[in-house]
Symmetry: C2
Subunit: 769 residues, 2 copies
């Protein structure tokens, strides 16, 4: 098993399973995602080229990202038989793969038509060098003399969940290239797709009947002959160019690619990927399954990373489709951001710039969402403006067909703190305060101000409380004193005060301007008081268990199985106002355990273990965010079997494909980049024992017993390191380009690590089996 390749090989070919695995085989380059379906597929098989950061709304349906016309389209026909679906086209063998090292998708299919065999082999990539470019190389082989019909070009029949978003496409030719363009319904944003081929074709008939622009080619083939051609397609939107330049820009990209040729395009693409992997690969020796799943996880994150300067973030289902509205959730800051911060800090910065850019949306939400909320209340589901795409009725009830009132939007207030915590972590980790000065400090202060406006004071207990929230466990809505949320709120205020202190020492004029702009100087003392007196539930003095929220311990104790047996419909939602889990201690996902992970320094192993063991049997893991929290906390208190089980669950979530693809009639299949980020964190922070809290690098390895070696790269304070961990030693190599000497604490031993050197520390004793 090559841990770099994801592959499906089958003689039992069916379109449905290929369609369903479209997210596993997806490609993306941060600008667009291309579901891993086949060249000849159309809307019925959910082909999707999803654009980052371009959204549209049709009628009263929810807003979602726009899918582009499919410039990668190619379909064959032979002897009057269309080879457009495998089921019907006598495909006798099919193999598809993604090579993660190069981010290339390949498919090879053997069709038997009229007694002879046609093999279709294509490989495609979305350029990591030129964000607008996609390239497909098509090879066709026949074992007999025959004439194939090839239809290739831009398929404008777009598959949408809530479309059509590009309702009136124009199809034309321009300078020998095919062109399909149109504009979105809500904001009239122009989108253009241009495609050209480098091909040995003669006898080409161009069909530009909207919405598609196609070449239909009659291709005589000799027995044993292979015909190969290359498609270059470009997607440009009005997010990237002025309305007048969209088409011209797309044409230029395609023309340049055509001029450069396939090999050069591919070479630059692969070189960019090599760079990415050099900075972020994690090697696990001794455990192929874990190695492959972790590499797959990292691959997903790398593909989703926004381009510098784009001002974009990563949606909860990355670029794998229109699922989850293409919206950015807390997933990004809490689960994906740490990977980028430690490997590609410029991408991490970009993720946070998105929050800076959408601060006004968060301010609007605060103003309109509640009575007298101030500051920034970030969107639970954020699109391009930062206004909340989350509806008040966000879950369908399969029994009544009605949408259930949920409070994700209005009560999941930890989102603002999640953002502030990430911005502060960025500063602490990079040592670079330029993001703070570019709006990060403003975000932090406005988030703190939001909690100030949200908190209440309980006089007889002489404390502030955060009331009426949803914590990470969404099965219990509108709870008081949720430990996670309250601690996030307190942390946000502490960060705000620390930000003011930092700026007062380093950039007093900028601070003064900021305080004046926000008119917040008079509130700082109140914030300090709030931080001092804000109630956060503490571990029980005897058991060590932290009550998830006020009254949680009084809820019914039951088992997840018993709960599920009471469902009247298998897809019944267990939360919202009347869900089966609501009166019970069954929780959707890590909540207290997530808090223990986020605030590692504040709890000891006794508390970690006590809460893990208390909450674990009560957790349904109904969210893909849950497993990694359990994995990381278990590693922290030293139960590596617990940790490994949840690590694999996190890392394999997409590969196992054990998730729903349809909710009712709505396609919800998509990737899980937060779980992917969780897998990386578990490997590096959990088993690797890395902590970079702004006070230096710490490595306290806890290698899983099956692993012979764990190796990864880290970026810290702008410098780079390679770390290797074996059962007997830890070595860390500082990049020769590093700017500084660093002190590294390895298993309790503090060493200095100058640029270009390796420090090796033998571990005091073998890791316990």
């Amino acid at each position: 098993m090559d841990s770099w390749v994801i592959r499906t090989t089958t003689r039992d070919v069916d379109d449905e399973s290929i369609m369903r695995r479209g997210n596993i085989y997806q490609l993306a380059n941060g600008y667009m995602g291309y579901r891993g379906t086949l060249d000849e597929y159309g809307t019925a098989q959910c082909v999707g080229i999803t654009l980052a950061g371009l959204y549209d709304r049709v009628g009263s349906a929810w807003r979602e990202p726009v899918n582009a016309p499919n410039g990668g389209y190619t379909a064959l026909s032979v002897d009057g038989v269309d080879l457009t679906t495998l089921d019907e086209a006598n495909a006798v063998a099919h193999e598809q793969s993604v090579n993660m090292a190069e981010a290339v998708f390949e498919r090879r299919t053997r069709f038997v038509v009229g007694g002879h065999t046609i093999v279709l082999h294509t490989s495609r990539f979305l350029s990591a060098d030129e964000r607008h470019l996609g390239v497909v190389r098509v090879s066709i082989t026949s074992d007999a003399d025959t004439t194939l019909q090839v239809c290739t070009g831009i398929d404008g029949r777009i598959w949408d969940i809530n479309g059509p978003h590009l309702p009136q496409l124009t199809a034309e030719t321009r300078d020998g290239a095919l062109l399909v363009h149109g504009c979105t319904q809500e904001n009239q944003k122009r989108v253009a797709v241009v495609e050209c081929v480098e091909a040995p074709f003669t006898d080409v008939k161009i069909e530009t009947e909207a919405p598609s622009a196609l070449r239909v080619v009659s291709l005589p083939m000799a027995a044993g002959e292979t015909v190969t051609f290359t498609k270059y397609f470009a997607v440009v939107t009005e997010n990237d160019a002025s309305a007048d330049d969209v088409i011209g820009h797309a044409l230029a990209v395609v023309e340049q690619a055509h001029r450069d040729g396939y090999d050069a395009c591919r070479e630059r693409h692969v070189a960019a990927w090599t760079q990415k992997w050099m900075r972020s690969d994690v090697v696990i020796e001794g455990d192929d399954e874990a190695q492959r799943a972790l590499r797959y996880s990292i691959f997903q994150l790398l593909m989703a990373a926004p381009w510098p300067g784009s001002g974009l973030s990563i949606p909860a289902r990355a670029l794998s489709g229109q699922v989850y509205k293409g919206a950015v959730f807390w997933d990004t800051e809490m689960f994906m951001f740490p990977f980028f911060l430690h490997t590609h800090p410029e991408a991490a910065t970009e993720l946070l710039r998105y929050r800076v850019r959408t601060l006004d949306g968060a301010r609007r939400k605060a103003r309109t969402e509640g009575p007298g909320y101030r500051g920034a209340f970030y969107a639970w589901e954020s699109q391009e403006t930062g206004d909340d795409a989350c509806s008040y009725f966000n879950v369908g009830d399969p029994t009544t067909g009605r949408d259930l009132r949920t409070h994700f939007r209005d009560k999941q207030v930890h989102i603002s703190g999640d953002v502030a915590i990430a911005i502060w972590a960025h500063f602490r980790h990079t040592g670079d305060d330029s993001l703070l000065l570019e709006g990060g400090a403003e975000v932090i202060l406005e988030c703190a101000r939001f909690y100030d406006s949200y908190a209440y004071f309980k006089r007889d207990k002489n404390r502030f409380e955060i009331l009426d929230v949803i914590g990470p466990d969404e099965y219990h809505e509108r709870v008081n004193n949720n430990a996670f949320t309250s601690q996030v709120a307190r942390e946000t205020i502490l960060i705000a005060l620390a930000t003011v202190e930092h700026l007062s020492e380093t950039h007093p004029a900028a601070l003064e301007a900021l305080l004046a702009k926000l008119d917040i100087a008079g509130e700082l003392q109140g914030l300090a008081e709030l931080a001092r007196n804000l109630f956060v539930p503490e571990p029980h003095p005897e058991t060590g268990v932290i009550e998830q929220f006020e009254g949680y311990f009084k809820l019914d104790e039951t088992s997840i199985d018993a709960l599920k047996e009471r469902r009247v419909h298998p897809n019944e939602y267990l939360g919202a106002g009347q869900g089966l889990a609501v009166p019970t201690q069954i929780i959707k996902q890590a909540d207290v355990v997530m808090m223990l992970n986020l605030f590692k320094d504040r709890y000891d192993d006794r508390v970690r273990r006590a809460n893990w063991e208390f909450y674990e049997p009560r957790t349904e893991h109904g969210s893909s965010l849950s497993a990694c929290a359990y994995a990381m906390v278990a590693a922290e208190f030293g139960n590596l079997d617990y940790a490994y089980r949840y690590f694999l669950k996190t890392a394999k979530i997409d590969l196992d494909g054990a998730y729903k693809v349809y909710a009712g009639t709505v396609f919800i299949g998509g990737s899980h980049p937060a779980a992917n980020g969780g897998a990386w964190m578990t490997a590096v922070f959990g088993f690797g024992g890395v902590r970079t809290d702004g006070e230096g690098l710490h490595i306290r390895p806890r290698l899983y017993r099956e692993w012979q070696r764990l190796a990864f790269s880290l970026c810290y304070r702008g410098d780079r390191f390679a770390v290797e961990i074996t059962p007997t030693l830890v070595s860390i190599t500082a990049d020769s380009d590093n700017a500084r000497f660093h002190e590294v604490d390895i298993a309790g031993q503090v060493r200095t690590c100058p640029p270009g050197t390796t420090v090796t520390v033998p571990l005091p004793e073998p890791q316990p089996l």
Copy 2:
């Protein structure tokens, strides 16, 4: 139409409709209620003799009042035909009536069996003189020579909703009487029913096969002969006597009644009722429909009134059955109590003694219901101990068959204030502070303390808020700053402070002891601060409309019809977490309007009208408590057409019978004493314009245009008055036994009214038509 008699006469006899109207024809005497079904009926027709203040619980079903064996049972059989159901027994005519003046139920039924006619005529009453006693006189006439079988005695086959509560009844004879006795399951409380007859029977066969004790008599009759006999039955429980005395006590009651004879028993009963009516009848001349409905309403209240010293209150469905768990709700203090306070203050005192007696239950609820609640949190559904009988899942969902989580129990916190307000009104109205000293002051202080423990301080708004409540409108759960609730809370604290002030002036030693007992002296300053700074939503400066709770105005505007069209099941509940009304402005019942009624002095007519007209189209009146609030407030701001419409709706609720009798399989038919109290309040406070706020009697009549005369009695400060209002004058007559001269403000003219005199004030101009 005799406005004193409720009568049904029909040739189209059917048991179902008689069963359904059992609550309309019920009798009660404060000790027990007897559904107005027929002598020969059994469990299938929902015969019920429901006992006040005796509850039982079987298994996990809800606790409910105990029904006694039916000592009023008599059934006939002729020529082998059982005359036990009208449907099957050839009943050709049937009449039944309740004479409200005397509280006597009569039925007369003509059966045709084998070609000849039997007439069964019975009359029954539950003695208003001897609470344990029921009397039934039975007359049977035959138009032909025949032999009837008479079966009369105690039917022990008890109809229960959640029974059996008396599972192992013993049936026997004792000194010629029949006796059925047993004890409840939960607390082993003994219940005994004794019955004897005064009859010309010979040839009596006694059958004492548990659970019934019966006489079977073969009764030869001559053509045209009428045979009459009288049944005396007594019910005694361990609430009234020691376990050993229950049977003896019941035997003694029956023996005494037997000795006294029918005429004497009935005479004493009727005399007691004459007294009751003298003190509480309301005469409306010119509107027979209103007169009859109002008299019916008063009758219901009089029948339900607890006996002095019983320590009982009035359940929400009075004594009309086991419906609503026989529980006491806020209905009593807010809707029934004013009638008693103004007509039978000793009964009003008894209602409040029940709250004093159950204070410890309210304290237990506070301790266990919430985090750090202190003081007294009265039960939403209170039974004999004051612990809450309301479940957390109090409404069934007809679609899923599941019980819905409702927050009636834990969030309808206005209940404590409702109690405190009634206790204070009692003192202000009677001028007698003995109830305060007997525990009323303690209740008030503990209720204020509860709100102190419930309130939160909002720092940036510099105010306290009452969060997370349900106001009277139960379709919107868990709202913040509900105007009604917050004002009730503030009023409670003001009352507590006024109570302390009053006692400090009049009973300093008692106050000191009370403050010490409660250890509350140190909290008084905090209470004063809370009262000063507790936020209560104010009328909008332009529109005058008060927002029912924070965010109400932002809810969807829709119509009640449009809402109901969206139901998937006709009995679907519109509230709880996911009800159709929740995201809309549709409310279940008067909420802001109820507040305007409760705090009349604090708002002007402009605000009253603005809120009435705003909320009225948004009110579903899904509670029987709603209409009277709309009636009273409309009268207050002078729209008597509005007022009259809602007055009739309130007064006729039971007579019209437009309410549900079954919810699923659960019998919920019952009377509506709160609406009855609302009808009286609308007549006397609304149209009569009476206000007795502790600062004297005020009368500002607003006579409805159809009414020629409105006359009623009032009790104030222990003295009695008769009031007459016509379109041209108001006269008030002070009882000659009155102890004091009273100043009376009639339509703005203040007059002194010495004992035994009548003051007449001509009205300045005719009432507007």
